[in-house]
Symmetry: C2
Subunit: 270 residues, 2 copies
């Protein structure tokens, strides 16, 4: 049995991973962290390249990890065994499962993203404006995957889509949902040029969300946790809807509101 390649917390590879928890480092290097068996598997399924895989067999939870490691190696990824102490340091989780990868971010531009949508007869999109909490963005991705959304446009980002907590909350659907970061203005212009209806939820709308027609080309726009959608999106919305609120609070969590709108659209479009 061979010795782990990395046994020292001072190893430069360890520092590289820890640095990638910081957005500035992700922006600078173009790399990000993918932790966990399920997340790495979905990244492979989504044709993402894993540059480096750190693994620690004593932490594995299942029996398929060996196959995953081989698959990453077969695609040219470097695989490095770590001691448990080193792996605990690398991991971002309470209960690590012995697998952490580093991968290049996607370099797709907004125009490439929109070109890929050109073949969709009846596009079904979400615009998420300035979402602050990575957990919310990840959960929106998970619900977007569930309804087979054609694309998620993250506008005027507050948290970037490669934040480790986005990857985690998305349970790897970041790698399967078409997603792009874009400016609000270019997104709005493009949606208008394509005749895609913008739907915004607001407490002041007359109609409930189950009472409007969502069967055509549709972009559901959702905004920041604190303030909701900006004026740009509210005033350009083709459809305004209200989610009924019968309690003391005046709004739902943004990921809840998005999920309700996504499933209502799915119900109508199926």
């Amino acid at each position: 049995m061979s010795e782990p390649e990395i046994t020292s917390l001072q190893n430069p590879r360890v520092k590289q991973v820890l640095a990638l928890r910081d957005r500035r480092d992700r922006d600078k290097t173009g790399l990000f962290i993918i932790e966990g068996y399920r997340e790495l598997l979905r990244a492979l399924e989504g044709q993402w390249k894993i540059d480096i895989l750190f693994y620690c067999p004593s932490l594995f939870l299942g029996s398929n990890e060996g196959a995953l490691i081989q698959r990453i190696a077969a695609h040219g990824g470097k695989t490095l065994e770590c001691s448990p102490a080193v792996f605990q340091k690398l991991s971002y989780r309470d209960r690590p499962d012995g697998l952490v990868g580093i991968a290049p971010k996607k370099s797709e531009s907004f125009s490439e993203f929109t070109q890929n949508l050109a073949e969709k007869k009846n596009p079904f999109l979400v615009v998420a404006e300035a979402i602050e909490k990575p957990g919310n963005l990840g959960t929106i991705l998970r619900s977007s995957d569930a309804v087979a959304l054609d694309g998620l446009i993250v506008c005027d980002r507050c948290t970037d889509i490669y934040n480790p907590n986005v990857v985690r909350a998305s349970v790897g659907t970041l790698f399967t949902v078409p997603v792009v970061e874009a400016k609000g203005e270019e997104t709005l212009q493009w949606l208008k040029s394509q005749g895609i209806a913008i739907l915004a939820a607001t407490p002041s709308a007359e109609k409930e969300f189950t009472q409007v027609d969502m069967r055509g080309p549709l972009a559901i726009a959702v905004g920041t946790e604190q303030l909701g959608l900006s004026e740009r999106w509210m005033k350009n919305a083709d459809l305004q809807v209200r989610i009924p609120m019968h309690g003391v609070a005046d709004s739902l969590n943004v990921a809840m509101a998005t999920t309700l709108l996504l499933y209502e659209a799915l119900r109508q479009r199926c």
Copy 2:
């Protein structure tokens, strides 16, 4: 202008608050932490007693904090001004708003909880079994408030409802939604004795969640993030429903699934 009462991090009151982040201390003392203007206001509105309020004027975000402090004092609460350094230590948040309270937990038993429901002609309940993440439990409370749920029964708890992250994610709806912690078995027996239909979501169900009748006495049962509902609830469910999944992931986040079921029930019951 008076000096803050608490300026030392060694003050025993500071230690008391920090200790209450730990469940064992909450269980032992019967107290818990309520942080934030909105949360404290909702606690007052829900007739909860605040024993002690720590405040730090330089961190206030609005102009109504003075009235809140007076209201708490008028109800017999002790109010203590803290220096900014002390308050930063007390606060559980990235951006504290200068208000942290300590309050007694509710001592309502399951039988008192069910007695309070006796007047409801057509009860609308949620059973949340062994939810692990405080954020999910808090979000379920927030959605429960939004649909004016009659009661949330937290069974076989993994996280307790007084966890600071539950209070936060619930944005104070913990204080307005009738909620109780109970054993799974007693909950099941009571629901059966009352003729309240148990609805469970499972991928293997034939009918979609929008295709079953949710208009009668209803308890929506949802289970742990990892494993879903236990056998006890699955085999005793009167209604089984499926949430359509069109992507690569096989399930939604538990709070998303609960919110979809709550709003479908609301749509049918209104």
